[in-house]
Symmetry: C2
Subunit: 344 residues, 2 copies
């Protein structure tokens, strides 16, 4: 009678099977960046991940230190013709005017009403100071929860003028793949945006898989107080705490994260200091710039397009030159991205 | 000849073995809070974890939302006779005076020199404004990296006057167990301290297993600039961005985390609003207060000790009464903690 296999040999058989399964799955592993064409940009990302996450690599980064930061507007999703949050602010103006009809004849409210009636030239009249005024009027003075509910409702209903789709559908598929690829390799992915922190937090988790605590943005203060029933709540204040643009980006990263990123992605002059700060760290670091050079599938603006920089998301010639000089990687939407949107 | 077991039965045998191993380990599972005596405080923590992490529980909290916040001074480690960071600031004054000898005769520097010579009464002369002035003089104006190196060096050398041990050894073992127990159950643990965010971040990871991005504290601004070699760096500014005490705690939690905690631990009036804000959320929430009532093993101060509230970490009678009224749990160091320090 043949001997039955011992318990230890049973375990050995099972272990062998498990190992085999792992090997098969590793070989069948699909390209982590399928929407990217082969090229310098894709290679830079893959090389970076391998160098920083392979045990024994001289550039290995311990998991706790793996931080990657992403600008949002123009880097993770469409920013033309008008930043999404600016659209939100503008489209809240009619409700403001209904509540206070005297505002209808006062700038900048009157300018916004003209703009919403279709006078696109009116947009040029709005200064940055006007936008801050409108932001304060539409996005502060209410509780954090009321603001979140209003923004959520608007995001569900609003449509982008060109694609007639929700703004949250207009994220770049290749960048969504980078977010997932980095997270699968132990990186924590942060949004570091000039946009409002509270606004972006409303949809970042569903849209990018990025939780509220990993959204660093321009932030106003809040004031703690009590409702009539004694329940405490936070009111959004018009007081600016963190202007998370330009030098404000590395300053915001220090305040909110306290570690220097290993990878940073941007697309405009507002991202320059974040990219410099990231790249100035020791070891392997990548700084990447999305170049909007695809007029057909998205938009073309900035230097490489041959078009003048616009008010929205300008990648200036100076920043483009700095990128080339400092070994940052420029991502050409036209050449590096097979697909731009998931819905294509 | 007896048939060999089929592959599927081999797997079944293995699965059974694995299940058995899991059951044995569950039964052998050790108490997650071994330094706690059985009682209402320990029960409140264990009940909370079970209610919020057991699938199917009506109070189940999705892992992404599991946030727990901890005050530091007096809650996670000793705060008497003087806050650790205040000791740091005071002990940096002699170096300041060596660099600028004219300061030796000017208050508050002269007061600090008296204090360091052993005149304990001099401490009473220092106002909060003095402390802010000393903080600015000793902890701003240098790069973030220089500050971190100086604080790290001091922490390695400084000793607590009573135990003659490094301050980082004076954490409460029962609270370390709570941190680990919550993390093992999917909670992210945050320090939310009135102390300096940059100071606490220097040692929080090694001391509590809490990474820099999960330290919310009183924070000053930084300024981005360039060294002579063109390398960018951040300089610590004397400008206060976030006074993370009292109402500043829920405001800081909103700024830095963007979610309401499910559990909060504190010990003084500076924690009141954080505990209220936490407890006011839906579902199962715990708010707990550490009561310093063990004069022998640590210190006794605050109402239950029969002693007057002190300048440092005062749990006032009003807060103690609010805790009792609102269903917060008071932790008695004397009765609830079997051991206070790991070195006992």
């Amino acid at each position: 009678m043949e001997k039955l296999p011992s318990l230890s040999s049973l375990f050995r058989i099972f272990a062998l099977g498990a190992l085999l399964a792992v090997c098969v799955s590793a070989h069948a592993q699909t390209d982590p960046l399928p929407s990217w064409n082969e090229g310098a940009a894709k290679k830079a990302i893959v090389d970076f991940v391998q160098a920083t996450t392979t045990q024994g690599s001289p550039q290995f980064v311990p998991p706790a230190e793996r931080i990657a930061t992403f600008d949002q507007d123009g880097t993770l999703w469409v920013e033309h013709p008008i930043y999404t949050q600016v659209m939100y602010v503008l489209e809240r103006v009619p409700a403001l005017v209904r509540a206070k009809p005297e505002l209808a004849k006062v700038a900048p409210y009157s300018t916004v009403l003209e703009l919403l009636k279709g006078d696109r030239a009116a947009m040029e009249k709005l200064t940055e100071a006007d936008l801050f005024k409108l932001l304060a009027a539409t996005s502060t003075g209410m509780s954090v929860e009321v603001f979140q509910a209003e923004a959520k409702k608007w995001l569900a209903e609003a449509r982008h003028p060109r694609w007639k789709k929700p703004y949250t559908d207009l994220t770049y598929l290749p960048m969504q793949e980078v977010l997932k690829y980095l997270r699968a390799n132990g990186y924590r992915t942060y949004i570091v945006t000039g946009g409002g922190q509270d606004f972006v937090r409303v949809y970042a988790e569903a849209t990018y898989g990025i939780p509220p605590e990993q959204v660093v943005g321009t932030a106003g203060g809040t004031t703690y107080g009590y409702a009539k029933d004694g329940k405490p709540f936070l009111t959004k204040d018009p007081k600016l705490l963190l202007n998370n643009n330009n030098a404000g980006k590395p300053e915001g990263i220090h305040l909110m994260i306290g570690r220097r990123p290993y990878a940073a992605f941007g697309n405009s002059t507002g991202d320059r200091q974040m990219l410099e700060y990231t790249k100035a760290g020791d070891g392997a670091r990548i700084a990447m710039l999305v170049l909007h050079d695809d007029a057909k599938r998205e938009y073309a603006y900035g230097p490489a397009s041959g078009l003048p920089a616009t008010k929205v998301g300008a990648l200036t010639q100076a920043l483009y030159d700095e990128a080339k000089k400092k070994g940052w990687t420029v991502i050409s939407m036209k050449d590096d991205w097979k697909k731009i949107f998931a819905f294509e």
